[in-house]
């Protein structure tokens, strides 16, 4: 994964003129697209692309027992798999620290804003609740997985239908998919990741840029304009001023991302369409 020093040099010298290797300006995202409803058997799903980065999220709804300390809430379980078909160094096996960190960043962003109204997800209070399994599948990694995975997660939740829970004659709870209602979603959240290289801030770093980044700050923004999470990654640091500037940029760019989600929700798509226009 060592990028020649010469490439770093050219990235830096172009940034001096506010330009990036792929022609973008510092605050510009790559092309973004979101397709919802691509996995028909899942209760909710979405595929998000940012440039060549592809993230697929499927949501399954099941029945389980609540956490003892939260007996009157449904359960949301967020998991991320960096499957080995997505990148040469991704390996089979349990999620590594990067996949765990990504899942937890998204999980916290959803939780802190009460994005899913888990209090409405109880079936029998204290005994049976809905479990919302949100599984993130990275299919192609070209940098900035966080923003793509958050986009796909948010769109998939908005695409989710919750089957009606019915007790059978033995008292077992079964889910009836024929009577399903939209998942209660309180509000929306996106993540805007901002890289720092040569002291400059750039939005949506691609893989090539990530390899020369000094540090990165992923900022979760709610659709009510609040900061709903931050995570600094990378081996270097930010100054307070840089953090403040990054928050400002994130607030700005979040609007674009919310618009992309809005557009995507207008009509469900197919995986065939979503994957094919990769060329």
């Amino acid at each position: 994964m060592l990028i020649p020093k010469i490439k770093k040099k050219s990235i830096l010298s172009m940034l001096e003129r506010d330009l990036r290797l792929d022609g973008r300006s510092p605050n510009q995202y790559r092309d973004i697209s979101v397709h919802v409803g691509v996995i028909e058997k899942a209760e909710g799903s979405a595929l998000a692309k940012i440039g060549n980065t592809v993230a697929l999220v499927g949501i399954k709804v099941g029945v389980g027992t609540p956490f003892p300390d939260l007996p009157d809430q449904g359960v949301l379980a967020v998991n991320a798999e960096f499957v080995p078909l997505a990148f040469p160094t991704f390996e089979p096996g349990p999620p590594d620290e990067n996949a765990v960190e990504l899942a937890r960043i998204i999980d916290r962003s959803l939780r802190e804003l009460d994005v899913v109204d888990l209090k409405k997800m109880t079936i029998i209070p204290g005994e049976k609740v809905y479990i919302i399994w949100l599984d993130i599948y990275v299919l192609d990694h070209d940098g900035n997985l966080t923003d793509a995975c958050m986009l796909a997660s948010m769109a998939a939740l908005l695409n989710t239908k919750v089957p009606k829970a019915e007790a059978d004659d033995r008292g077992f709870i079964k889910l009836n998919k024929d009577e399903a209602t939209p998942l209660p979603v309180n509000r929306r959240v996106v993540i805007v990741s901002i890289g720092k290289v040569g002291g400059k801030l750039i939005v949506d770093p691609n893989l090539e840029e990530e390899q020369v980044l000094e540090a990165k700050l992923s900022i979760s923004i709610g659709d009510n304009g609040v900061v709903a999470g931050m995570q600094k990654t990378g081996l270097s640091s930010f100054t307070q001023e840089e953090v403040e500037k990054a928050v400002e940029i994130a607030l700005n760019k979040s609007k674009e991302l919310f618009t992309v989600i809005d557009e995507a929700l207008k009509k469900p798509s197919s995986l065939w369409e979503a994957l094919r226009n990769n060329g």
Binding site: K41, P84, L85, Y137, D142, W272
Partner: protein, 248 residues
């Protein structure tokens, strides 16, 4: 093959639950080169089943002692996405996935010229994104396309399909509902140009005569899928030729 309920899987007119006749395949579509990082990739839809396959390699083996001095090693992982099934599936590999990874690998290894790349490994990753029956077959169909897309020399493509027996009738390309209620499910894969059966499994009960007929029926389906595979490659090849001409 377990449930108690009696479902009418074939009506009096010989129509199956999705309207097909016994010897009809489900709608299939396939595309190669759908991923950027992989050296080769393919996406296959067969009815409700959706699989994606990627190939990396030939590349170096770590740790070294896993390499063969005289040929490439082939590793294969068949894996189901947690959201691909009716009930959420744990992402940890199940015993079923371990077995299928093995038989798929053995089927693919029969067509790859591994001796061309000693001391390397070729990694084949199959992800089932939606499971509606016949996932190992669609996975094989996709994986052999991905090998071709990666430019790895192969003797032939692999095409695969599952034959089932429902209410005493042999039917082609069973879907999940049929699989759950059928008397037998026989996935098979071939290197079609050589008439070689490279994967053959039978779950369920057949008479010896039915076994022969099932293989016969499977072959018919496999030949159709094989034609589609070749078309898919050809289309892409022409496209990229045209493109390169434009460049030239």
């Amino acid at each position: 093959m377990s449930s108690e309920d009696k479902i009418v899987l074939i009506d009096e007119k010989g129509r199956r639950i999705d309207g097909r006749g016994p010897e009809d395949l489900r709608p299939i579509r396939m595309e190669i080169d759908v991923l950027k990082n992989a050296d080769g990739s393919a996406y296959v839809e067969q009815g409700g089943t959706k699989v994606i396959a990627a190939v990396y390699g030939p590349r170096e083996v770590h740790p070294r002692h896993l390499a063969f001095p005289d040929r490439a090693a082939i590793r294969c992982r068949y894996h189901m996405a947690p959201f691909s099934t009716s009930e959420r599936k744990s992402p940890a590999p199940s015993r079923r996935e371990i077995e299928l990874s093995k038989v798929i690998r053995e089927a693919l290894e029969s067509v790859v010229f591994t001796q061309l790349y000693p001391r390397t490994v070729i990694d084949i990753f199959i992800e089932v994104l939606q499971a509606d029956g016949g996932t190992r077959c669609a996975g094989l169909t996709a994986a052999s396309l991905a090998l071709a897309d990666a430019g790895i020399p192969i003797r032939d493509l692999i095409a695969a399909v599952a034959v089932g027996k429902i209410d005493g009738v042999l039917v082609l390309d069973i879907n999940e509902t049929e699989d759950e209620h059928c008397e037998a499910d026989m996935p098979m894969a071939m290197a079609p140009s050589f008439n070689e059966i490279v994967l053959l499994q039978l779950n369920g009960v057949l008479s010896p005569e039915e076994t022969s007929k099932a293989i016969e029926l499977g072959k018919k389906g496999i030949m159709k899928i094989y034609e589609l595979q070749k078309e898919t490659l050809k289309k892409k090849y022409e496209l990229s030729t045209r493109r390169s001409q434009v460049v030239t």
